[in-house]
């Protein structure tokens, strides 16, 4: 019984570690290609930043470009 609990614990630990921030999220230092101009949402440079900002707020995402943002739109 004890062995089974331990086995479940280890399995759960390994399984949940797969959800680690470092594994599922593109880390800030891995965003070189995302920061490329051709990855921008708009072909117009002046509009791209604004559109990107709005997109990130709408998606409540952590940012796909070089910027560091939350989903609150406060930055």
């Amino acid at each position: 019984m004890q062995f089974r609990i331990l086995y479940l614990f280890v399995t759960a630990l390994l399984f949940l570690s797969g959800c680690s921030d470092k594994l599922v999220r593109v880390m800030p230092y891995e965003k070189e290609h995302f920061a490329d101009k051709k990855m921008s949402l708009s072909p117009l440079e002046e509009r791209a930043e604004q559109e990107g900002h709005i997109f990130l707020i709408r998606e409540a995402s952590a940012g796909g470009d070089s910027s560091f943002q939350g989903g609150c739109g406060c930055r």
Partner: protein, 165 residues
């Protein structure tokens, strides 16, 4: 069984590992942007070091770079900035630095290393770009600086550097 649990726990904790204040700076062996020479962390023992992780694609990194030029130019030999570029291609970093050199009118006054494998940001657990680490003479991280620094931040940083000298 106990060994298996320990291994699993250590592996899981590794995923959250990073370097915080008071911990030893990460050892490295990196080449300069030109690829001519290699440097290790131990080479800077006895000096206060500002380790800056940057990329030419990162807006904040480019914004703070002129401030680092000024800071190094004004500092004595006891303090050194080590700028580690994480660009895939060293030529991109060199291109940016050359354009900045043209603007300020002098050569890059500090050491620039290249880490295309992102070994240092991974080891330090960098949560944003740029990230900088103030390391004392004994190689211990004294401050973790997240994000870009402006002129006012640099003034505060100077006080910290002087305390460590």
């Amino acid at each position: 069984m106990k060994k298996l649990i320990m291994i699993a726990m250590v592996l899981s904790l590794q995923l959250f590992a990073g370097v915080s204040e008071g911990e030893k700076a990460v050892a490295f062996d990196l080449k300069t942007l030109e690829g001519s020479k290699s440097y290790q962390m131990d080479d800077f023992k006895g000096k206060v070091v500002l380790l800056n992780l940057w990329g030419s694609w990162c807006g904040g990194c480019k914004k703070e770079m002129p401030e680092f030029f000024k800071l190094q130019k004004e500092s004595d030999k006891g303090f050194e900035i080590v700028a580690v570029s994480i660009d895939n291609k060293a030529s991109e970093s060199e291109k940016f630095l050359h354009s900045l050199e043209g603007e300020v009118g002098y050569k890059t006054p500090f050491l620039t290393l290249h880490d295309p494998d992102k070994m240092l940001p991974k080891a330090y657990g960098a949560v944003a770009m740029p990230s900088s680490y103030l390391i004392d003479k004994e190689g211990v991280v004294r401050a973790v600086i997240v994000g870009s620094l402006d002129a006012d931040d640099i003034e505060e940083l100077k006080l910290e550097i002087n305390k460590l000298k």
